[in-house]
C-alpha cells in the first residue's frame, strides 16, 4: 500500500485515503470546438503508459479533497515527489524533459 505525501496536508498518508485520477498535465484544449475529432479523441482517450517515471493526478478524497500531482515510478512504485496543481515536476525522465512536460 502506497504511502503518499499530500502537499496540502503536509503529511504522509495511506493510499486508502486517495484516489488515482490518471495521467497528470492533460490540459483541456482552450477552444474545444476548434479541435478536429482526432485532436479531441487524442485529448479524451490517449494516455502514456510508460515503464518508468510517470506524472499522475491524485486526489486526497478522504482527506482534504484537494487534487495534486505525483511523480511515480511504474516499475518500483517509488514516489519521487508530490506537487501542487500548477507546479512543474522537479523529477523527470530525460526524454520527458526534452519533450517538455506541460505544467
Amino acid at each position: 500500500m502506497l504511502h503518499i505525501f499530500c502537499p496540502h496536508c503536509g503529511e504522509q498518508r495511506s493510499e486508502e485515503e486517495f484516489h488515482a485520477k490518471g495521467q497528470a498535465h492533460i490540459a483541456r484544449p482552450l477552444d474545444p470546438d476548434a479541435c478536429t475529432d482526432e485532436e479531441w479523441g487524442e485529448y479524451m482517450f490517449f494516455r502514456d503508459n510508460p515503464r518508468g517515471l510517470h506524472h499522475e493526478l491524485w486526489v486526497h478524497s478522504a482527506g482534504c479533497r484537494k487534487y495534486f500531482n505525483v511523480t511515480r515510478h511504474t516499475v518500483t512504485y517509488e514516489i519521487l515527489e508530490t506537487y501542487k496543481i500548477g507546479e512543474r515536476p522537479g523529477v523527470s525522465e530525460k526524454k520527458a524533459v526534452e519533450q517538455g512536460v506541460p505544467a
Binding site: 479541435c35 479523441g41 486526489v59
Partner: protein
C-alpha cells in the same frame, strides 16, 4: 495408545499437561508444548496423507513452515473446519480433531495408490493437459473427478463462529523472525530507544536457539533467549508478536502480519474476561521505517530414489523433534549429507541413546569438529557417498548407500544396503528470501554458500538482512550480524545506536559444503525409482528433465508445466533442487537458470483473517435518513441505493409488493403521497463565479436563472455522455443549491472539484456537501397544496409560488426551504428542513394528512410515477453511452452558450450525430398485461435466425396503475423516428413479447397537472 516415540526426558513440553486429540478418528495423547506434528510422531503415526498425483503414502518431513506433506483438515464440527493446516505449525490443544485430506478409503490403504504404482510412468508432467484435452465438452466431467482425486482440504459449509480483526501499526524497526539474529537485532534497535516490533511465526520466540546443541556463555542457548525476552518485555516501545507470520512485504515498507491469537487454545476462540468472544486471528498492517529481515534458512533435502517414503526427514527437523519435543521419530538413523552442520542430528541422536547406522557424506574427507566428534563416538562415516535409494513402502526399512561422483553425476560401485527406519538428509541451507522478493527483488546466487540470498532493496525495500538469510550461518557471527543490523536500522530511523553485550558462542571448525542436489542413481533418472523434488505436487527429477526435453527452458515455464512449487508450501523445500536439476539438464549454471519469484503470502492466510471485521453488518457502511425510525415503525420494505437504506414500499397487511405499489401510485395521482427524498445529493455552491461554473458543467444555461427559481440540469462528461442530473436552485446571486442523484453525490462533488482545481482555478467558487444536513420530504399529488397549507406560513398560491420556484418559510414550526418541483408530474412540494427537525415535521404532515388521504410511498412507486412521465433515471435509463439527444432531451442543451461547456465538443463528434443511434422511447406491450423484463434485448424481426440482430434494450418497465397497462422505456436504434412501429423482445424461455414504440411520456403529456 501410548506415545511410543516419546523420550523419557527433555524437551520443552509440559509433561504435567497431557492433551488428548484425534487423527483420522483415532484418539492419541500428546503434551502441552507439542505441535500436532510432534504429537503425531510421538505416537508413531507414519502416514499423514497421500500424495497429490500418485497417492503414495507420505509422512512428516519437516518441523516448520516448509512442511509439504502434513497438510491437514482441522475441526470437530462443520463450522470449525479449517483446511490446509500445516501440522508442524499447529500447536496441540485438548480435543483437537485432525484428518488427512485425501486417501480413499483411508490413508493407510488407498486404492488410488494403484495409479501411483501401475500408472506412475503413465502420468508424466502435463498428463492432465495431454490426456483430458479432448473432447473439450467433457472437461467439466473430468475436472470433477480429478479434483476429488487430488484434494487438499475443503472449506466449511457453515458459518464461522469466530471473529477476526485488523490493526494498523507504525514502528521504527520491524524485526522479522526471533531466532538468534532477530533477537540480537531487536535488542540493538530497542536499546537505542526506537519503536520496535518483533514478530515470529512460532509458538515460542528463539528459533533455532530452542533446539540447538550449541551453548551461549556456556549455558543452554534457550536461557539466553529467556534473558533477551525479559529485557525486551520491559521496554515500553517494544511490541512482541508471537505466533505472528510476516506474510507480505508490500509497497513503501508496508508489511502484513498474520497473528494467530487463539489457535493454540482451541478450535473456537475462548470468551474473554468481559464475556465476549476473543478475536481468533489478527492482521497487523505495519508501516515500518526500517525492516530487519532475520527469517533464517530452510534446510534442503537431498533428492534420491523413493525419498518420499515415510521416515525420510530433514536432518534439522529430526534434531528439532528430539531436542524441543523429546520425540524420536525412529530407532536407527542414517544421515545423508553434504555439509557439517547436519552432523548435529547424529550427535543429538546419540545423546538420546539411539543408534546411528551410518552417515553418508558426499565429501571426500570431511574433518570438521562435529564430524570428528561423531567419528570419536564410533559413528560409521562413509565418505564420498550418499543414500541413493530408500527401501520400504509405508515406512523406511533401509537405505542403499553408494559411493558417488557428485561432479559427474554418477554412481561409483555397487554400494551397500544398511538397515534403518529413518533417513535424515541435508543438502545445504536455503535462506528464506521470500519477503525480500515480494516487490520484485531478484535473489542472488552465492557460489560460496551454494544458495540464493536476497537481492538488494534498491530503495524499494528499506530492509537490512541479518543472520542466515544474509548467508551468515555460524552462531557467533549470526548474533553479531543481527546486532549490527538492528543498530543500523535504528540509526537509519533516526536513533543513536548504543553498544551492547552479546553472549559468546563456542568456536567450531566447519568445512565447506559440496554441491549436491539430485543424488545420482545406477539407472538414468528416467528409469530410476521416483526421485521426488516437490513432495506436495509429486514433481520428480525425471519430470523436470522431461519438461526440459520437451522444450521448457525458462524456470518459470518449467515451474508451470511441472507444477513445481505450486502447492500450499510454495516450493519451500523443492524449488532450489528443482532449478538445479533443470539447470543441469540444460547444461547451464544455477545463476544462469535463475529462480522463480515469490509473492505474498509467505504461508496461507485464512479468509477470516483477510476479512477481519468487514463482514456481516459491518461489510459496508450503511446510511440512514433522519426519518428511518418512522419507516421501520410503519412497516417499510427497504431498498439499498448506494449505501443508503431507502423505503422501497410500505405494504399494508396482506399486500404484496405489486398491490402496495399500485395503491401508493393511485394515492399520489388522486390524493397526495409523501416520500422521504433525503438521500438526494445536495451540494451548496457559493462564490461570485458560481453561476459561470454551472454554465460550464451543465449542458443547459444558467445565466438567466433568477433568485428564487430552480432549474433541471443535465451533466455530461467530456465525451458528451450524460452522467448525472438534478435540479439546482438559485438561493442568492452568488449562492446555489445543486441536487444530484442519490448514488452520484460523491462522484459529482469530486468531478466539480476536479474542474475547479485543475482547469479553472481562477473561478471564485466553493463547493460543500450538505446532503446529510438537510432532510427532504416530498409531498406529491393534487391534495399537496391543501395539506402543506395547514403546516406552513408560506403563500402557496400558484401566482405567489409557481412551478420551478422555491420559498423560505416555516413548515411545522421550523425554518424550511420548500421547492416546487416535481418528479411525478403532479403538483408537488419538496420540503427541506434541518435534518434533526425532520421527524417532527414529518409526523405533523402525517397527522395533518389524514384528512387528505396522505399515503407514504417508497422508491418503487417513485420509479413508476416518473416512468409514466418519461423522466429518466441516470444509470438506469442511461449507461454512459447516451447523449442528451439520444434521450430526446435536446431542449436541455444550451447550444449557444459562449463557453464550450463540458460535453459540447464530445457530443458533436461524428458518431454522436448519427441518426440511427439508440434513442430513448416509450414501449407499450401489445398485451397490456405483459410486463417486459428490464434488460430485455429488442429486435425488429423475431423470425430471424439466431444470432438475431439486436436493436436495443428495455431500460425501465412497470405496470402502471394509473394507466391500467404495462409501460416501458427502452433504447431503440433510430427509435425516435419509429413511433408506432413494433419491436419484439425474444425471451430466454422462447416466448416473445411484442410492443409498440411510442412517446416516452405516457401520462399527462402536456404537463398540466404539475402547474395547477
Amino acid at each position: 495408545m501410548s506415545q511410543v516415540n516419546r523420550l523419557p526426558g527433555g524437551g520443552r513440553i509440559d509433561r504435567s499437561q497431557p492433551l488428548t486429540f484425534t487423527f483420522n478418528g483415532q484418539t492419541y495423547q500428546g503434551y502441552a508444548g507439542d505441535t500436532l506434528a510432534a504429537a503425531l510422531l510421538a505416537n508413531g503415526v507414519d502416514v499423514v496423507g497421500r500424495s497429490f498425483k500418485y497417492s503414495r503414502p507420505r509422512g512428516i518431513v519437516a518441523a516448520g513452515a516448509e512442511e509439504p506433506n502434513a497438510v491437514l483438515q482441522l475441526g470437530s464440527c462443520e463450522a470449525a473446519q479449517v483446511p490446509n493446516v500445516r501440522a508442524t505449525q499447529q500447536a496441540l490443544f485438548n480435543g483437537l480433531v485432525a484428518r488427512s485430506t485425501n486417501g480413499w478409503p483411508s490413508v493407510d490403504t488407498d486404492l488410488m495408490a494403484l495409479v501411483g504404482k501401475v500408472g506412475g510412468k503413465l502420468m508424466p508432467p502435463g498428463f492432465y493437459y495431454k490426456t483430458f484435452m479432448y473432447p473439450q465438452s467433457l472437461w467439466l466431467t473430468y475436472e470433477k473427478y480429478i479434483r476429488k482425486a487430488a484434494g487438499l482440504g475443503r472449506a466449511p459449509t457453515e458459518r464461522d463462529p469466530d471473529i477476526y480483526d485488523h490493526v494498523n501499526r507504525h514502528c521504527d524497526v520491524l524485526v522479522v523472525g526471533a531466532g538468534p539474529a532477530g533477537l540480537a537485532a531487536a535488542l540493538a534497535a530497542a536499546r537505542s530507544g526506537a519503536r520496535v516490533i518483533l514478530a515470529d511465526e512460532q509458538e515460542e520466540f528463539g528459533g533455532s536457539l530452542l533446539d540447538t546443541r550449541e551453548t551461549l556463555d556456556g549455558q543452554p542457548a534457550a536461557e539466553w533467549v529467556a534473558k533477551a525476552l525479559a529485557e525486551l518485555e520491559k521496554m515500553p516501545e517494544v511490541t512482541l508478536l508471537p505466533r505472528a507470520t510476516v506474510n507480505g512485504y508490500h509497497d513503501h515498507n508496508f508489511l502484513t502480519i498474520h497473528q494467530r491469537l487463539t489457535d493454540h487454545l482451541g478450535e473456537v476462540a475462548p470468551l474473554g474476561a468481559n464475556g465476549v468472544r476473543q478475536a481468533r486471528q489478527r492482521i497487523h498492517r505495519v508501516r515500518a521505517k526500517r525492516v530487519v529481515l532475520a527469517t533464517g534458512a530452510h534446510e534442503r533435502p537431498l533428492v534420491y530414489a523413493n525419498n518420499d517414503v515415510p521416515g525420510n526427514m530433514l536432518a534439522g527437523a529430526v534434531s528439532t523433534y528430539l531436542r524441543r519435543y523429546a520425540v524420536a521419530p525412529g530407532r536407527r538413523l542414517v544421515l545423508s549429507t553434504n555439509n557439517d552442520y547436519a552432523y548435529r542430528v547424529v550427535l543429538d541422536w546419540l545423546d538420546a541413546g539411539l543408534e546411528v547406522a551410518a552417515v553418508a557424506d558426499a565429501r571426500s574427507n570431511p574433518q570438521g569438529d562435529w564430524v570428528n566428534e561423531a567419528r570419536r563416538r564410533g559413528v560409521r562415516i562413509l565418505t564420498g557417498s550418499a543414500v541413493v535409494e530408500c527401501l520400504g513402502s509405508k515406512r523406511v526399512s533401509g537405505a542403499r548407500i553408494c559411493a558417488i561422483d557428485a561432479q559427474a553425476g554418477k554412481v561409483v560401485g555397487t554400494g551397500e544396503r544398511i538397515d534403518c527406519d529413518l533417513i535424515a538428509s541435508s543438502g545445504g541451507y536455503s535462506p528464506v528470501v521470500h519477503l525480500a522478493s515480494h516487490l520484485g527483488g531478484r535473489p542472488q546466487w552465492r557460489e560460496d554458500i551454494l544458495a540464493f540470498v536476497p537481492g538488494p532493496g534498491n530503495g524499494v525495500q528499506l530492509r537490512i538482512d541479518a543472520g542466515a538469510v544474509n548467508g551468515v550461518f555460524s552462531l557467533g557471527e549470526v548474533l553479531t550480524d543481527g546486532y549490527r543490523a538492528g543498530a543500523q536500522a535504528a540509526e537509519e530511523a533516526g536513533f543513536k545506536a548504543v553498544d551492547g553485550s552479546l553472549p559468546k558462542a563456542e568456536a567450531r571448525r566447519e568445512e565447506a559444503t559440496v554441491a549436491l542436489f539430485l543424488v545420482p542413481h545406477d539407472k538414468p533418472t528416467s528409469r530410476a525409482p521416483k526421485q521426488f523434488v516437490d513432495l506436495q505436487n509429486d514433481v520428480t527429477a525425471a519430470g523436470i528433465e522431461l519438461a526440459v526435453r520437451e522444450g521448457f527452458e525458462s524456470v518459470e515455464h518449467v515451474k508451470r508445466y511441472t507444477a513445481l512449487g505450486f502447492g500450499t508450501d510454495q516450493g519451500k523445500l523443492g524449488n532450489i533442487n528443482g532449478l538445479a536439476i533443470a539447470a543441469r539438464a540444460l547444461g547451464i549454471s544455477i545463476p544462469q537458470m535463475g529462480t522463480t519469484m515469490f509473492r505474498p503470502n509467505y504461508t496461507p492466510v485464512t479468509f477470516g483473517a483477510v476479512t477481519g471485521r468487514h463482514c456481516g453488518h459491518l461489510f459496508e457502511p450503511k446510511r440512514y435518513t433522519a426519518l428511518h425510525r418512522w419507516h421501520l415503525e410503519n412497516g417499510a420494505e427497504f431498498e439499498d441505493v448506494g449505501q443508503w437504506k431507502r423505503p422501497w414500499y410500505f405494504p399494508k397487511p396482506g399486500e404484496d409488493m405489486h398491490a402496495a405499489v399500485a395503491r401508493e401510485c393511485l394515492a399520489v395521482r388522486n390524493a397526495v403521497g409523501i416520500l422521504d427524498a433525503s438521500t438526494l445529493g445536495k451540494i451548496d455552491i457559493q462564490g461570485p463565479d458560481a453561476r459561470e461554473f454551472l454554465n460550464r458543467v451543465y449542458t443547459n444555461a444558467w445565466t438567466k436563472l433568477d433568485v428564487g427559481k430552480a432549474r433541471y440540469g443535465l451533466m455530461c462528461k467530456e465525451d458528451g455522455m450524460v452522467f448525472d442530473d438534478g435540479v439546482t436552485a438559485c438561493l442568492g446571486d452568488n449562492h446555489f443549491l445543486m441536487t444530484t442523484t442519490t448514488g452520484g453525490a460523491a462522484r459529482v462533488l469530486e468531478w466539480l472539484e476536479l474542474y475547479h482545481q485543475t482547469e479553472w482555478p481562477e473561478l471564485k467558487v466553493y463547493f460543500t456537501s450538505v446532503t446529510d444536513h438537510w432532510a427532504t420530504m416530498t409531498l406529491s399529488g393534487p391534495n399537496s397544496r391543501k395539506l402543506l397549507a395547514e403546516v406552513t406560513d408560506i403563500d402557496l398560491s400558484n401566482e405567489a409560488f409557481p412551478f420551478m420556484s422555491w420559498k423560505e418559510g416555516q413548515v411545522g414550526g421550523v425554518p424550511a426551504r420548500v421547492f416546487r418541483i416535481s418528479f411525478t408530474g403532479e403538483l408537488s412540494y419538496e420540503i427541506n428542513v434541518q435534518a434533526d427537525y425532520a421527524m417532527g415535521v414529518w409526523e405533523q404532515l402525517i397527522e395533518a394528512g389524514q384528512r387528505y388521504g396522505l399515503t407514504p410511498y417508497g422508491t418503487e412507486t417513485m420509479h413508476v410515477l416518473r416512468a409514466e412521465k418519461g423522466f429518466i433515471i441516470v444509470g438506469q435509463d442511461t449507461d454512459g453511452s447516451v447523449t442528451p439527444d439520444d434521450l430526446n432531451m435536446g431542449w436541455c442543451v444550451g447550444r449557444n452558450k459562449p463557453f464550450s461547456w463540458i460535453g459540447r465538443r464530445g457530443m458533436n463528434r461524428a458518431d454522436c450525430l448519427r441518426e440511427d443511434r439508440k434513442q430513448l422511447v416509450g414501449l407499450k406491450p401489445v398485451n397490456p398485461n405483459q410486463v417486459l423484463p428490464e434488460g430485455a434485448q429488442l429486435v425488429f424481426d423475431p423470425r430471424q435466425s439466431i444470432p438475431m440482430q439486436m436493436v436495443g434494450h428495455v431500460t425501465s418497465s412497470y405496470r402502471s396503475a394509473a394507466l391500467g397497462c404495462s409501460i416501458a422505456l427502452a433504447l431503440v436504434k433510430g427509435g425516435l423516428k419509429r413511433m408506432g412501429e413494433r419491436v419484439f423482445a425474444p425471451l430466454a424461455d422462447g416466448s416473445v413479447i411484442e410492443a409498440e414504440i411510442c412517446s416516452s411520456v405516457f401520462y399527462d403529456p402536456k404537463g398540466e397537472r404539475q402547474n395547477v
